[in-house]
């Protein structure tokens, strides 16, 4: 395979970060690159290149109009660093969609091998789509998926082959009008995955979508749409990576999930972008009666990340759990959180957020629990804890609980703390180095979240934490 040694996922993290594994960005052949002002002609060109049906072209143009009208959110920290006119909004690498690793061009295959994707796919996944810059370059689906009637396609292909199904849900869970960057996404989306699970079908092994940004000053706008029929279930994993770049790149992705009655959806993201990615994530699910949606968010990399996975509990007895770990080590910002909207009786939500800041980092928890009138007997609990590892780092906790239903109960707890000198001294006296002691304390801090994760995801996250914090020097 191109003479490159295959790495396991663990070796990725044991390289002390994605930057060391992937190295610097390299030039590669591009078939199409569209950049410039965000105008109608740019959006029309993207639609033309993709050979889209007219309804999708019109959807994009309506979103573009909204983008012009909506203001830049003033509460967002750091957004002034993005110059939208320097970004390339569509980059198609010179590669066609293939269904085997061997068919990929060597320069793409090299990156994926370093990331350990072929092995992960062979061992643990029932399907995988890989997006490189703006296009899906690889789609693999095991027989299990096909035999059960599960649809796993690149989003563009789904738009062409299943227009009625896609139209029913696309942009309905997370509309373009929500905010300016959602509108931008809907106007420029490219790449991503469409998953449809028929009623009653349980997909045993997870499906993964992997997103890779290969160039600087590039915008990635992948769209993932997951629809799970009544009684169905699926676990979906999202991975993200990019090599080191001199300038920044911009990610404005979207995930829409529709969980029908009694469906179960588990959505995990381990985001370890390199430090020059500005990362917007728009994630939302609608849960019908008795459905369950679980979000797991591991925000480890990037220069700035904004992500607030949300669930609208539309059906009676629907429930959601939202677990997140955010680490800002260095002069980076992790602005994360979660939202739960209770719109039906007997709904339940739990949000657990653990964030760690060190070496001048800033972590922000931004959350909302909204209980609408009529959501009788709904219950919600939020726990958000921060660990600030030194005097230069910061933590903001900004929750909002809005209850319009008198029979609901909503509670929230939060704490901000720092490493205890006594704990460090005790562990030092047991033979641990200062770095090892800090890593152990941090792992203990995020135990609540680790306990709720699939074993393989928990072990990756633990390993990343161990490596990130075992390098820290002494405080003060």
């Amino acid at each position: 395979m191109g003479g490159v040694e295959v790495s396991r996922v663990e070796e990725l993290v044991s390289g002390a970060g994605v930057e060391e594994v992937l190295g610097f960005a390299r030039e590669y052949p591009k078939e199409i690159e569209i950049r410039g002002r965000i105008e109608r002609s740019l959006v029309e060109e993207i639609s033309r290149v993709k050979k889209e049906p007219d309804w999708m072209r019109r959807h994009r143009l309506r979103a573009l109009e909204l983008f012009y009208k909506l203001p830049v959110p003033r509460w967002v920290i750091g957004v002034e660093q993005i110059d939208l006119e320097e970004i390339a909004y569509y980059v198609k690498p010179r590669a066609e969609l293939v269904e085997s690793w061997e068919e990929l061009p060597s320069w793409i295959r090299d990156y994926y091998q370093r990331l350990g994707l072929p092995e992960a796919e062979a061992k643990a996944l029932s399907g995988l789509t890989a997006v490189f810059d703006s296009e899906t370059v690889l789609r693999r689906a095991k027989e299990e998926l096909e035999s059960k009637g599960v649809v796993l396609l690149p989003m563009e292909e789904a738009v062409r082959r299943y227009p009625d199904l896609v139209k029913e849900y696309f942009g309905r869970v997370f509309p373009a009008a929500e905010h300016k960057f959602a509108a931008l996404h809907h106007a420029l989306w490219s790449g991503g995955a469409f998953v449809y699970v028929p009623p009653g079908v349980r997909v045993v092994q997870p499906i993964e979508a992997f997103f890779f940004v290969g160039s600087e000053l590039m915008g990635q706008f992948e769209h993932t749409l997951i629809v799970v029929g009544e009684g169905g279930s699926i676990q979906f994993i999202e991975g993200c990576a990019a090599p080191v770049m001199r300038r920044y790149s911009f990610h404005d992705g979207m995930v829409e999930i529709y969980a029908h009655r009694n469906a179960r959806v588990y959505f995990s993201t381990i985001q370890n972008w390199s430090r020059n990615i500005v990362n917007f994530n728009n994630k939302r699910a609608i849960a019908e009666e008795g459905a369950y949606v679980e979000w797991l968010e591991g925000s480890l990399g990037s220069k700035i990340t904004y992500t607030y996975p949300s669930t609208i509990l539309r059906g009676r007895g629907a429930s959601t759990r939202n677990l997140s770990v955010a680490i800002a080590k260095g002069p980076y910002i992790k602005d994360t959180g979660g939202k739960a909207i209770h719109a039906a009786p007997g709904t339940r939500s739990m949000i657990v957020s653990k964030s760690i800041s060190a070496e001048g980092g800033l972590v922000v928890y931004r959350g909302l629990v909204k209980v609408l009138r009529g959501a009788r007997g709904s219950v919600s609990h939020v726990q958000c804890d921060s660990l600030v590892l030194d005097g230069e780092s910061r933590s903001y906790t900004l929750p909002r609980n809005e209850v319009d239903e008198p029979t609901a109960e909503v509670s929230h707890e939060a704490s901000v703390g720092r490493l205890s000198e006594e704990q460090l001294f005790y562990l030092g006296s047991r033979g641990l180095s200062e770095g090892e002691a800090k890593a152990l304390i941090v792992l203990g801090f995020i135990q609540d979240v680790l306990r709720g994760l699939p074993l393989e995801v928990a072990s990756i996250l633990s390993r990343v934490v161990e490596l990130e914090f075992s390098e820290l020097g002494a405080l003060g």
Binding site: S393, S411, A414
Partner: protein, 360 residues
């Protein structure tokens, strides 16, 4: 003219309060008040007070804790203000009543309290039947001083903003209890404390009652700007009938506030069939060098088991609810030696007006 121009430039607040509720305070009501013609007369309050403030006179200057361009609210306040009252307290308890402004238009009142030694201040702000507008009370606490503050605020049908600003000097200790009752309109209370001196201490309970038709937004703001400061702000909201109560605020620990010890609680109880309660206790910690920094929030109705127990003792549901709210609120003045007695009486009086004689 300059202030009129400023009114057009400065927003009520820089951005929305949440993705689903643009503003917790109904600024539209204040905007309409700004547009109405000004015709206000000030009436002496009933009751016995050591000092009467906000009667349209007052020759003192502001205390410097509310910036003129801070917000549209501040601009409006200074535009319509006719005079600043100042009172110094240095031992004993001072009861301050505010004149009742009648008529139409924005009525602004402003009091500066300078506290030294060990003293108490009782503030009585009653705008029932009166004009809307703003009341600003600035409390400057000298280093080493100990101050107890009790404030009773009764809103009317016209929108009212009450802004309490405290500045604590080195080693000073402030205990505060504020009871704010909506009167059918919009009531916004800003309860802010700046811990500017090393080892300053603030404990405060804000109780907000949103009666039928009222919207009460109680906003706490505590800033740890000096080392080793201590704060325990608590906001308790009660929503009756179809009232909306918001219990929220921000505790900020600046980089200079190392060694901070702060616990922020926001609680809201829904007592009516259409009541609404919002809670948003926020923290912004600019340094990892904190001793304690936690916050918690809860929204609920009076637990069924409590109602059952009290019902088994012969109380109706209204009586049981009144009892629970009363005991909860009276706890706010526990431990206040100087103002606790008067505070308790004032609280019972206002609870009796809102919840009926059962509470007495």
């Amino acid at each position: 003219m300059a202030q009129r121009a400023l009114l057009d430039e400065v927003p009520w607040q820089p951005y929305a309060d949440s993705p689903t509720t643009k503003y917790y305070t109904d600024w539209g009501a204040f905007e309409r008040l700004l547009s109405s013609s000004w015709d206000v007369v000030f009436e002496e309050p009933r009751g016995s007070y050591d000092y009467v403030a906000g009667c349209g006179g007052g020759s003192g200057g502001p205390g410097g804790l509310l910036g003129e361009r801070e917000s549209r609210l501040a601009v409006a306040h200074y535009r319509f203000l006719r005079g600043v009252d100042r009172v110094a307290v240095g031992g004993g308890v001072v009861r301050v009543g505010f004149c009742l402004p009648r008529g139409s238009g924005w009525a602004a009142q402003h009091l500066v309290v300078e506290a030294r030694g060990s003293s108490g201040v009782i503030l009585d702000i009653d705008r029932r039947g009166g004009a809307g507008g703003s009341v600003v009370v600035e409390v400057l606490v000298e280093p080493g001083a100990r101050l107890e503050v009790f404030a009773r605020v009764r809103g009317g049908s016209a929108p009212l903003a009450v802004v309490l600003r405290r500045r604590l000097g080195r080693g000073s200790v402030v205990s505060s209890a504020v009871a704010a009752v909506g009167g059918g309109g919009v009531l916004r209370v800003e309860d802010a404390s700046l811990l500017a001196g090393e080892a300053s201490r603030f404990t405060g309970v804000g109780a907000a009652l949103a009666t039928r038709g009222s919207r009460v937004d109680y906003v706490v703001d505590v800033v740890h700007a000096a080392p080793d400061a201590y704060s325990r702000p608590v906001v308790r909201g009660y929503a009756l009938g179809d009232g909306l109560v918001v219990a929220r605020g921000v505790v900020r620990v600046l980089a200079s506030g190392r060694g901070a010890d702060t616990v922020f609680e926001a609680e809201a109880v829904m007592l009516g069939g259409e009541a609404r309660a919002y809670a948003a206790p926020m923290m912004e910690i600019e340094t990892g060098d904190v001793r304690v920094a936690t916050h918690r929030a809860a929204q609920y109705r009076v637990p069924e088991d409590v109602l059952f127990y009290l019902g088994s003792r012969g109380l109706s549901e209204e009586e049981a609810v009144a009892l629970v709210v009363r005991e909860n609120l009276l706890a706010a003045v526990e431990g206040m030696e100087l103002v606790g007695g008067a505070g308790r009486r004032a609280l019972l009086e206002v609870l009796g007006e809102v919840l009926g004689p059962a509470v007495l």
